[in-house]
């Protein structure tokens, strides 16, 4: 755990970058510091590994004041990823990744084999090992930056706008990669960004800072979206807060119907009868393997042959128990039926979420949204 205890950074010219920051960064979680430029988020991050020292207050790393540790020693135990990756241009990718292991005096063989493992872990081909940074794209360099930070297996990772300099598509894949890595590694990560969507996507907790270095709110993303502490946070979160919050509502509240699912082998003469029995104008068609094929409207179908002779209409699916209500809603909006097909982890259909059940789930989610006035506005470090 990292704890900021009344930390202030004041520069010689009187500028206050960080103002009495109290914040806890729980072990094994991603805590995102987010805010507009000038809010002191990068300064706060850099005080953890003593790239900057605070003017007042203390930063405790597992109950040790970081000021009592010699900076280079401290930094070798903390992974550090910066915006432009900052790879050493004169060293190969492999040697870049092995930087900290070399500093820690590991023998060359062990350092290199660890580096090679990490190269693959961050999704790069082993052939990259012998290249130089200039031969890699921005996104690849950033992956190497993450691998380098992980090389000595530090428990803490500091990431300073690591994905800001790459294009949106690459950024999204790097974010997914980080989520995947974190699920395996459980590092204590402090992540700085100015992008609220990135903060909400990645953060287990999000700390919103305002200009002048004051903490505006710290909460998990769902709470943040549902109950912004004040106008500043609300404005910073931007539009579509309600819809975005659905990403954090589990789909388990969705009632599923299995009687709307028909196999592709069904006779068309029977299908209209099924539709009448279940009182639905739409039926979901599945193949012999129980995988979804699409939607049919029995009223519009010919009366002879089987469902094989019909081209089903487009559909959307969500993975039951894994995806959010937002994904389910999205799946429903992709289908002419307005219903979403629920599948299990193997992609086999287990039922259908109808408009009625989506409606119920949305109403439930809305009623569970915390009211702004009694929301947990701030969690103080010593609270």
């Amino acid at each position: 755990m990292i704890r900021f205890d009344g930390v202030t950074k004041r520069y010689a010219d009187g500028t206050v970058a960080v103002d009495h920051l109290d914040l806890e960064v729980p072990t094994g979680e991603i805590t995102v510091l987010v805010g507009p430029s000038g809010c002191g988020k990068t300064t706060s991050l850099r005080m953890i590994n003593r790239m900057i020292d605070p003017s007042e207050g203390r930063i405790m790393l597992d109950d040790v004041d970081v000021r009592t540790i010699d900076p280079p020693t401290l930094r070798r135990g903390i992974g550090y990823v910066i915006q432009q990756a900052g790879l050493f241009p004169h060293r190969t990718i492999l040697d870049n990744i092995a930087t900290v292991p070399y500093l820690l005096g590991w023998d060359r063989k062990r350092a290199r084999s660890t580096a090679l493992e990490l190269l693959e872990r961050v999704g790069l081909a082993p052939e990259m090992a012998r290249r130089y940074p200039f031969q890699l794209s921005g996104g690849q360099q950033q992956r190497v930056g993450v691998a380098r930070a992980l090389a000595a297996d530090p428990p803490v990772l500091l990431m300073d706008e690591p994905f800001s300099a790459v294009d949106p598509v690459v950024r999204a894949s790097l974010q997914d990669e980080l989520i995947r890595l974190q699920a395996e590694l459980h590092k204590t990560i402090v992540f700085v960004t100015h992008d609220i969507d990135e903060a909400i996507k990645l953060g287990d907790r999000v700390a919103v800072l305002r200009v002048g270095g004051k903490l505006a709110q710290v909460a998990d993303p769902a709470t943040l979206l549902a109950a912004p502490a004040d106008g500043f946070v609300r404005e910073f979160l931007g539009r579509d807060r309600g819809i975005r919050r659905l990403s954090f509502v589990a789909d388990t509240g969705l009632r599923l119907r299995s009687d709307l699912v028909v196999p592709v082998t069904s006779d068309l003469s029977r299908v209209a009868g099924v539709a009448a029995d279940v009182e639905s104008p739409w039926l979901a068609v599945v193949d012999e393997d129980n995988r979804p094929l699409g939607w049919v409207a029995p009223a519009d179908l010919p009366r002879a042959g089987t469902l094989r002779d019909v081209r089903p209409l487009p559909y959307g699916t969500f993975v039951r128990g894994k995806d959010s209500l937002r994904t389910a809603l999205d799946a429903a909006l992709l289908s002419p039926s307005g219903c979403a097909i629920a599948v299990n982890g193997d992609g086999r259909v287990i039922g259908v979420a109808t408009r009625e059940s989506l409606d119920e789930a949305l109403a439930l989610a809305a009623s569970e949204a915390p009211e702004p006035h009694d929301a947990p506005v701030r969690e103080d470090a010593d609270g």
Binding site: N49, M51, P71, P72, T73, L74, R75, R76, G77, Y80, I82, Q83, Q84, A85, G86, L87, F88, P89, H90, R91, T92, T99, V100, L103, A125, E127, R130, R131, Y132, P133, F134, Q135, R148
Partner: protein, 226 residues
Amino acid sequence: MNWLIEFFSDPANWSGSSGIPVRLLEHLEFTLAALLPAALIAIPLGLLIGHTGRGALIVVVSANLARALPTLGLLVLIVLLLGTATVLPVLIPLVVLAIPPILVNTYEGIRGVDHDLRDAAYGMGLRGPQVLVRVLVPVALPLILLGLRLAAIQVVATATVASYVSLGGLGRYIIDGLATKDYPSVVGGSVLVGGFALAMQGLFALADRLLVSPGVSRRVRTAKIR
């Protein structure tokens, strides 16, 4: 052209204390004797000032002095003061001449290293001297070598003029040739000086290839897959 053939085919020019091999060796000696101390002073100074950011004024003053300094004047002055009993009076101006390009380029090379790179190096836990030696110097090496190269060109050229004050070297052919209206000697000496300067350039190009990381010079060694 005839003068050239005449000069290079004269066996007298190939042996003895005023033969081409001896003169070449002398020229090389003077060049190295001036370049080495200059590098030993200017490189560490440039690294130190570039790394700490303190003392940048020295670099500026040195760069300006280099432009303003009449080397030949200094040469004659020091020779008049100290005499020609040793080569020292000739070497001092050559060393003074060689310092500014090395100092300025070393300093600029270190200062010019990307800020993010320094930040990353410190952030990884490298100590100050490790940042300098393991990161800044390898990245600044092309500029440091350029400084040495510029210094070498100037020293080679000026050492030729230095023959004026009874120093050996290839300049003797030109100075003595002019004095005795021996034009084959003048032309031959000029060609030798030119060739010598080119050879020095080649040497530095080679050093560049051998010492600078392909990652810095961007010479692609491994084939690009995409």
